[in-house]
Amino acid sequence: MSKPRVAIFDFACCEGCQLQIVNIEEEIIDLVGAVDVVEWREAMSEQSHEYDIAIIEGSITRPEDEHRVQIIRTRAKILIALGACATIGGVNKMKNNFDLNEVKRCVYGQDAGMPHLATTTTRAVHEVVDVDYKIHGCPIEGEEFKRIIRDLLLGKTPFVPNYPVCVECKERENVCRYEYNEICLGPIIRAGCGAPCPTAQWRCFGCRGLVDNPNVDAAQEVMEQYNLTLDDLKQKMVLFNSK
């Protein structure tokens, strides 16, 4: 049986998640032993229109991006969204909180009207085309990436946690940030990262997006228990989880 062909594409992003793939270092050899990488702009010069698995990094922010990702979808048997920009829109969605013309003026000044700077509302990949699997995080976790790829090669549905970050945070014996009356997004955000941010005594920033069924109704009452408000919580959501 021939090896599955994999192509990696980037859209609006910092390319840090691709860098995380490069960062698996010697296991890159194992990866290219298990699959044929046919296109990956960050790591090689070859290109191809024929692939089985497309890995999409970045969010969709321009009319031509939408067209390009639709073509990729028609060519790929399996499409994977890679990293927060692709899975939830991530920091790129902060743009959606403002008037689009205002955003363009702010960023590009007098060139804002130039045709090649056309920009639209930011969307996650699944808001444009069907996505088969998501590899979450900003950036992604190398270990999780490797495990998911191996599971897919075996034809097995990869395990992606649908429980909050609190599970992994407690495993690491952190004290809940709320005990210090600080906001943390952990109780509503998908785990899988191993809670590095609360372990470093920050809050969870929410880069892996919401769990499937977050208890949004509880938020107001719980915030009040800690002399916090719903607005405090919403402000912290803006960074990775704007609409």
Partner: protein, 346 residues
């Protein structure tokens, strides 16, 4: 049982000798403003005056993630048994009670060789509580003191420890305490006084019934407004499960190597509050509602597990879930007392 007394200075020398021995020594230490069980580097780091640890010693008895077997798909598999000698130093009575329950659960029915093999290599040095934690209610659960399970029990009587070596492993450890002297009647009186005080003192939340009533109380209250009232604020984050010394549910996952053939089967902690805990084949989830999962935890502790271990209640009153719950809904005493108010338990 041999009972002796060692001064605190002599005890420190004992701990240093233990650390120098060829077994792993894990003890209670301060981390920031809390306490944790961790590998002990020096006797000075040991804090037997701690109130409660963030996680219970369960993390050593039943690790968060452990390999069960190595496999080569379609060919063979080899079981993995971990069993390096380890001393757990500073286990409080309520945690000892939880270990005793797990020992019973993992050895009856399907004998769990992974658990039991590891357990047999662990020496437990328990200690009576010096400082009650803010949420402890062990006195309500009958676990403020403990009579069995430990290899050695330490009781702080001021300037010395009363040391009870209960097993051969415990007695062997007393060889590292050459200066220990037989406990005097006065020492034993002080020791009993500490334990009697703890049976009153470790009770920040008072259960308004005997623990032995709980199975009956729950049996009558499967449908009760308290489940929904509490679960309304539940994030399904499983913090109560993670910190619980008696939660022992696990998930099993296979991880395959790059040859896509060989790999390892692991088990890792799971929690009944998590949304997908009860999801089975075909994506059917038989506890889909938060309130069903919230109720299930308290039924496990107060009715289902007791049914497997001669009526012992699977809540030892450590109070960790009360501290860990962001929404402040996890307090078992609060729930059980609310049920008591509206129930004639006959």
């Amino acid at each position: 049982m041999s009972v002796s007394t060692v001064s605190k200075d002599q005890f420190k020398q004992f701990v240093e000798a233990l650390i120098r021995s060829d077994q792993r020594v894990v003890g209670v230490q301060q981390r920031n403003d809390r306490f944790v069980f961790d590998d002990l580097a020096t006797a000075d780091a040991l804090r037997l005056d701690y109130d409660v640890t963030i996680l219970s010693p369960r993390k050593y008895i039943l690790p968060q993630k452990e390999p069960l077997l190595q496999f080569a798909a379609g060919e063979s598999y080899t079981p993995v048994h971990e069993g390096a000698p380890m001393v757990l130093l500073g286990v409080h009575p309520y945690d000892m009670a939880s270990i005793n329950q797990m020992d019973q659960l993992f050895s009856q029915d399907e004998y769990d060789s992974h658990y039991m093999n590891r357990r047999q290599h662990i020496t437990v040095i328990a200690c009576d509580v010096v400082t009650p934690s803010e949420n402890v209610f062990a006195a309500s659960m009958g676990t403020a003191t403990v009579e069995k399970g430990y290899d050695m029990l330490l009781t702080d009587i001021g300037d010395a420890y009363v040391v009870q070596a209960a097993t051969d492993k415990g007695k062997a450890l007393t060889n590292l305490m050459p200066q220990a002297r037989p406990a005097s009647e006065a020492d034993l009186d002080k020791c009993r006084a500490v334990q009697e005080q703890n049976q009153q003192k470790l009770n920040q939340h008072v259960l308004e019934c005997k623990p032995s009533y709980l199975p009956k109380l729950l049996e009558k209250n499967y449908e009760h407004p308290v489940w929904e009232e509490k679960a309304r604020l539940c994030y399904s984050c499983g913090s109560c499960n993670q910190v619980c010394p008696t939660c022992y549910c696990f998930d099993v996952q296979d991880e395959v190597n790059w040859d896509l053939k060989s790999g390892t089967r692991y088990r890792a902690w799971d929690g009944c509050l998590l949304e997908d805990f009860a999801t089975v084949a075909g994506d059917h989830n038989f506890r889909k509602n938060r309130s069903d999962r919230f109720r299930h935890r308290l039924y496990r502790k107060g009715k289902y597990v007791p049914g497997k271990i001669d009526g012992q209640i699977a809540c030892v009153g450590c109070g960790r879930c009360i501290t860990a719950c962001t929404s402040n809904i996890a307090n078992p005493v609060d729930v059980y007392n609310q049920l008591m108010k509206r129930t004639d338990i006959g």
